[in-house]
């Protein structure tokens, strides 16, 4: 008899917890993907919105990374100028330049005597004839100090302070205003990336949340039936959380593609511009680590959006 057969089959026990969770998560992983696949247009549009929202801060991040790279290469031309007292002899000046070169944090020095300074000024300034009027050479001897590559602004300022205190030095000067301005601009852009990223992150959470909310509304009856037959909230919640995961993943993949496309589109013009400045600068895209972070961010934001929505709406659905 069929009922007896049913009886004998009903002696089986549920799986142990870990096996059960593995089976259930695997099932929901593909079930939620299949559910999204059955509505490809809606899914793609949602993923695209998320992708654009993630691509904006990611693109700005790429921009600041490249600007930092440019400023880093410009640091090579950063020099400290030590103007020596008139009483310092040429021999002492040259010796001092060698002593300074041996200091930690110094890459190179170049001693320019008073005579050389005058000659350079005469040839480069265009005021050579005016200098003939002067009886004495007004220009001091200079030691041009190039800090070691990779030194940050603070370290360079410390070096400047040390060199200023040398008895032979009359005046020490670091011409870095332009670099400070660039750093300031980069700081603003960095902050802007953070704020824009934060706002668009919220937008991603809201977008996923709203999509999941509509999904919950559409499946209200199904949820009610599941609760009737004893499905715990965790069981009902799971497919929605995985849906958020898939939206986040698809959105971040879209964002990666958009950033890559943007980088490729701008690399030609930026290299042309760089070549006009005798630079070999090439535009870099997202690094492997940053790409991974972008994927992770998309997934986490999608999951958070789904979780908040499910948490808010599931409790309101009670079986009738």
């Amino acid at each position: 008899m069929a009922a007896d057969q049913a009886e004998s089959n009903l002696q089986v026990q549920p799986l142990p917890l870990m096996k059960r969770l593995t089976q259930e998560h695997t099932r929901v992983f593909f079930f939620s993907l299949g559910k999204l696949g059955r509505n490809p247009v809606g899914t793609l549009l949602t993923a695209l919105v998320i992708g654009v929202a993630l691509a904006l801060p990611a693109g700005m991040h790429v921009l600041t990374q490249n600007l930092s790279k440019i400023s880093y290469s410009w640091q090579d031309s950063l020099q400290l100028s030590l103007f020596l007292k008139d009483s310092v002899s040429s021999e002492r000046g040259a010796a001092l330049a060698r002593e300074i070169r041996d200091r930690p944090g110094v890459q190179a020095t170049r001693y320019v005597s008073r005579e050389q300074s005058l000659a350079e000024f005469r040839s480069q300034s265009g005021f050579g004839e005016a200098l003939d009027v002067l009886q004495d050479n007004p220009l001091p001897a200079v030691i041009a100090v190039t800090p070691e590559r990779g030194r940050n602004k603070l370290q360079v300022e410390v070096l400047l302070g040390e060199l200023t205190r040398l008895p032979e030095v009359d005046l020490a000067k670091l011409d870095q205003k332009w670099l400070e301005r660039l750093y300031a601009i980069l700081g603003i852009i960095d902050r802007a990336v953070f704020i824009v990223g934060l706002l668009l992150g919220i937008a991603v959470v809201v977008t996923v949340g709203n999509t999941i909310r509509l999904d919950i509304e559409a499946r209200r009856e199904e949820i009610s039936v599941m609760k009737l037959i004893g499905a715990p909230d965790s069981f009902i919640r799971r497919p929605f959380l995985y849906t958020g995961f898939w939206y986040g993943l698809a959105g971040s993949v879209f964002a990666l593609v958009l950033v890559l496309a943007g980088t490729l589109a701008l690399s030609g013009p930026s290299e042309t511009l760089a070549s006009l400045y005798d630079s070999t600068f090439t535009l870099s895209g997202l690094s492997f680590g940053s790409s991974l972070l972008l994927l992770l961010t998309g997934i986490v934001l999608g999951w958070i959006g789904a979780w908040i929505t499910v948490w808010r709406h599931l409790a309101h659905i009670q079986p009738q």
Binding site: A2, Q5, E7, L10, E24, V225, G230, P232
Partner: protein, 242 residues
């Protein structure tokens, strides 16, 4: 016979509304099948909802399978419902899934291995005569077949108790008889069954206890009896003439 359901002076009142049930006291023994009858609004559905923890009594105590339902909190409710099979008038099936998937749902929720799920679902579908429709969508089935899917889903995890709320409400007379016979078959293998129905003509020939509700109160009881000739008449109902 120990009781699987015990109501002690149970009352239920809708918030700000009138009493739907008043001082209801009754028991359903383990392995027993009984009917709750009464006209619309008599409190049949509310009584079943109290057993299935879809609402909580405003007075009195409800014990189901030795559990005082008042002691169950949020997270305990779902595991409790897994121990009961529920059948509904409107079937409550998921129409975007196959018959197989609908019946499998209680087992999937409880975390059975897929091979066990397959075996048990097929056994349940066989028991209700729908094994050949396992891949069909419920939308392609008749009302009677959909109700049998609902019954298969209710029995697939071998509950100790089946609750059925007007299970024949949307079915024609022939199919209604078939469905009632199914419940009797499951009762014969030891499952307790409590059915709310107003279709007295269907149950009058069945040798099971009847609890009659009127205005939220039990107004008559017919004991478990083997023969229709022993039936006492119900208030206002000519049971024998139907």
């Amino acid at each position: 016979m120990t009781d699987i359901i015990h109501f002690n002076q149970v009352g239920y009142r809708y918030p700000g509304g009138k009493d739907v049930l008043s001082d209801v006291t009754f028991s359903l023994g383990r392995g027993e099948m009984a009917f709750v009858t009464g006209s619309s609004g008599a409190g049949k559905t509310t009584l079943l909802r109290l057993v299935g923890l879809l609402c909580k009594p405003t007075r009195g105590q409800v014990m189901v399978d030795d559990v005082n339902l008042a002691s169950l909190k949020g997270g305990d409710i779902a595991p409790f419902r897994q121990r009961i099979g529920m059948v509904f008038q409107n079937f409550n099936l998921l129409y975007d899934r196959t018959v197989f998937d609908n019946v499998a749902l209680p087992l999937v929720i409880r975390g059975f291995a897929y091979s066990d799920v397959q075996r048990r679902v097929r056994a349940a579908l066989d028991a209700v005569g729908l094994l050949n429709r396992e891949k069909s969508s419920p939308l392609t089935l008749s009302g009677g077949e959909q109700q049998r899917v609902g019954i298969a889903r209710a029995i697939v995890s071998k509950p100790a108790l089946i609750l059925a709320d007007e299970p024949t409400g949307n079915l024609d007379p022939e199919m209604s008889k078939e469905v009632m016979k199914l419940f009797e078959r499951f009762n014969q293998v030891g499952v307790s069954v409590l059915i709310a129905t107003h279709a007295l003509h269907l149950i009058v020939h069945m040798p099971h206890r009847i609890i009659h509700l009127d205005g939220g109160k039990i107004t008559a009881r017919r004991p478990r009896t083997p023969a229709m000739n022993d039936l006492p008449p119900f208030p206002g109902e000519d049971l024998r003439g139907r």
